[in-house]
Amino acid sequence: MFVHYLDLAWRSFKRTPLVSVLMVIAIAIGIGITMTSLSVYHMMAMDPIPHKSDKLHAVQLKAMDDGEEWWTEDNIPTQITYKDAMFLNDVDLPFRKTASTRTGFTVHMNSSDVKPFLESARVTSSEFFPMFDLPFLYGGAWTEQQYQSASPVVVISQSINEKLFGGENSVGKQVYLDDQVFQIVGVIKEWDIHTKYYDLNNGAFNSTENLFIPLSLIEANELATWGNTNGWKFEEINTFQERLNSELLWMQFWVELNNAQDKQAFGDYLNNYLSEQATLGRFERESPKFALRDVNEWMAYNNVVSEDNRLLVGLSFLFLTVCLVNILALLLAKFLRRAPEIGVRRALGASKSQVFAQHLVEVSMLGFFGGIVGIGIAQLGLWGVRSTYSYFSALATMDISMLLAAPSIAIVSCLIAGAIPAWLVCKTQPAIYLKTQ
C-alpha cells in the first residue's frame, strides 16, 4: 500500500504543481536556514575524539594561596605552571600524559625556493601523538634520547611537507625554524578535528599546529609562548629562568586514564603532589584542590558552544515553525478540496486510517523534496558563513549525520504540519460528497 500511496502522492504533486512547488520551497527555506545554524552548532558541539573522549582528561591544579580567586566556575585555573607541567610530564606513572604549549616560528629553507612563512608550533612530549591519535604518514615521534638532549628535531604536518618538499618523504631532511636548523623526524597525516580541544585557551576553533617539537626545547631554546599566560600573584621576573620557575600559568596538561581506578589513583597522586608543594611553601593552602575533566566535560566547562549559538539554533527552528504554519494552511486548502474524492474512496472501502496514511505519505514526500532542496540552500548558507571569516572554515560544513538529518527533520516537520489537515480530511463524511459531486 505504501508504494501505492507514494504513487498517489506523486500524482497529487503533479495535479497542483504550483502549490506543491510553493510548499517545497517553503519547507526548503525553513530547512536551509535551520540546517545552516544547526550544522555549525553540531560541528562546534561534536565530540572531537569519540572513541576515547571519556579517557582523555584535562588536568587543572589550584596551586594558589587560599583566598585567591579565579574566573572559572570552580575557581581553578585552566592552565598550569611550567614547573608543575614538567614534573608531571617526567614523573614515572603508569598513565600516558603530556604537557604542551603553543609557540611559533618563521619557517624557511634558507634558500629562495620557498618564501618564509610564520607557523605556530606545539611544544610537547612524544606521548602527545598516540594520546590524541595523530597518525604518521612518514617516520614517527622523537626518541627519548632526543628529548633528553633537547635535540632540534621536528614533526611536521602533511600540508607543510607538501609545501616544503612536494609531498615526498622528508624524514631526515632539514628545515629552518627561525634561525635554527631542525631535522625532520616524522610527518603526520592531516589532523582533522573541528575543535582544538587540547588547547581551548587559544581559540577553540583555531587550526591545529603544523609543527611539533620536544618539550625540552622550551628551556634549551628559551622559547616564547604564543599562547595565553596568566598569573595569580605579583612576581619579579627578569630572566627566562625566572619565568620557568614562576607561578605563571601557560602550560596545558592532559592525562589518559582508562578507568575509574586510574582516575582515582592519579587523583590521589595529584592530591599528594599539591600537599607536598604546599608544604614546601610554594603557596599557602589548607586542602589541595584539582580537577580532572574528560574531553566533553572540558568543552562544556570552557563554554565551547556559547549561549549565542544555542539561541541562533532556537531562532532558526522558530523560522522553520513559521514556514510550517504556512505549509499547514496550504495543505489544509489542498486536502479539503479533495474531499469529494476522499468521499468516493471511503465509500469504496477506505478506512479513516487508510485515508490518514495516504495523506501522511503525501506530506512526507513534500518534506523529503523540501529537505533535499533545503540541503542545497543550507550549503549556500554555509558557504556564506565560511566566506565571512576563516574561523568558520572547518565549522561551517555539513557532515553525513547532518546530511541525513536534513530530510529527516523536513519529513518530521511536514508530518507535524500535515497531521491536522490529514486528520480533517480523513474525517470526511462520504455521504455529503457522493450526491453533490
Binding site: M1, H4, R11, R15, P340, E341, G343, V344, R345, R346, A347, L348, G349, A350, S351, K352, S353, Q354, Q429, P430, A431, L434, K435, Q437
Partner: protein, 247 residues
C-alpha cells in the same frame, strides 16, 4: 441479508430537528432486486447511505448478513463495506486523475488483493461492461453512459453480494439508461442483491420489488409477482383512496 428495524435518522441543528427517516423497517433477501421510489427529500438517499454504512443512524437496529452494523468501529464498517457492498452513483463518482483500470482497481486495493488477481478481475469487469479496450482512458474521455458502466465495473470488481445504486440512470439519456438497466438486471441474475433508488417509473417497473419512501417512512410495499404489470400498483390497505381497478 439486510434487516432494518425501527431505523430513525435525525439531523439536528441549533433550531431545527429534521427526521430524515423514522421507524423505518425493511427486510431485503438475498438475490432481490428492489427499486426504491419516492418524492425528492423523502429520505431515499438517506436510507441508501445508511444501508451502505456511509452514514450512521440515530436509533434502531441494522443487521447486514447478521452483523449488527451499529456495533462496528469505523475500520470494521470500512472492511464490511469493501467486502460486501458495491456502489453506483448518479454522478458516477469516478476519480478524474485515474484511468479506467485504476478506477476499477480502487476497492480491490483497499481489500489487499494481490496484483495479478486485481488485474484479472479488472479486465473481466471492464469486458463485462464493454469497455475492455478503453482501460487506459481517463473518465473525461468517455460519455456519461460509458462512465456509468465504468462505475458499475468498479462496483462489480469487488464481487459484492449487495449493490446499492443511487439514481444510476439519472444523468443518462433513455438509450443509455436502458443499457445500464439491462446490465443491472444481468448482474442481479448472476446472484447479486440490488437496491436501486430511482425517480424513473419505467425503471422501477422493471424491478421485481418496489418500495416507496414518503416522509422518511416506508409508505408503500408492493411485491410484483409478474413483470407483465406495467404500472406501479398502490397498496389499497395503505392508500384506501386509490382504485385497484385502474391498475
Amino acid at each position: 441479508m439486510l434487516s432494518m428495524k425501527n431505523i430513525s435518522k435525525v439531523y439536528q441543528t441549533e433550531k431545527v430537528r429534521t427526521h430524515a427517516l423514522r421507524d423505518f423497517d425493511l427486510q431485503v433477501n438475498e438475490g432481490e432486486f428492489i427499486a426504491v421510489t419516492g418524492p425528492s427529500g423523502s429520505g431515499k438517499t438517506t436510507f441508501l447511505n445508511i444501508a451502505g454504512m456511509l452514514e450512521g443512524y440515530s436509533s434502531g437496529e441494522y443487521l447486514l448478513d447478521d452483523v449488527n452494523v451499529g456495533q462496528l468501529s469505523d475500520n470494521q464498517r470500512a472492511d464490511l463495506r469493501n467486502q460486501k457492498i458495491g456502489f453506483i452513483f448518479q454522478g458516477f463518482n469516478l476519480i478524474p486523475d485515474l484511468n479506467l483500470y485504476e478506477n476499477v482497481e480502487v476497492p480491490l486495493r483497499y481489500r489487499g488483493i494481490k496484483s495479478a488477481e486485481r488485474k484479472r478481475r479488472i479486465e473481466e469487469c471492464l469486458e463485462k461492461v464493454g469497455l475492455g479496450s478503453r482501460a487506459k482512458h481517463l473518465p473525461q474521455q468517455l460519455s456519461g453512459g460509458q462512465q456509468q458502466r465504468v462505475a458499475i465495473a468498479r462496483a462489480l470488481a469487488g464481487q459484492p453480494r449487495f449493490l446499492l445504486a443511487d439514481e444510476p440512470t439519472g444523468n443518462l439519456d433513455s438509450l443509455m439508461a436502458r443499457q445500464v438497466m439491462e446490465l443491472l438486471e444481468e448482474i442481479n441474475r448472476d446472484g447479486a442483491t440490488i437496491v436501486m433508488v430511482t425517480h424513473d417509473p419505467e425503471l422501477a417497473r422493471r424491478a421485481p420489488r418496489n418500495i416507496q419512501v414518503v416522509d422518511g417512512q416506508l409508505a408503500d410495499f408492493t411485491l410484483y409477482q409478474s413483470r407483465e404489470k406495467d404500472i406501479l400498483t398502490p397498496n389499497p390497505q395503505l392508500n384506501p383512496s386509490s382504485n385497484p381497478a385502474e391498475a
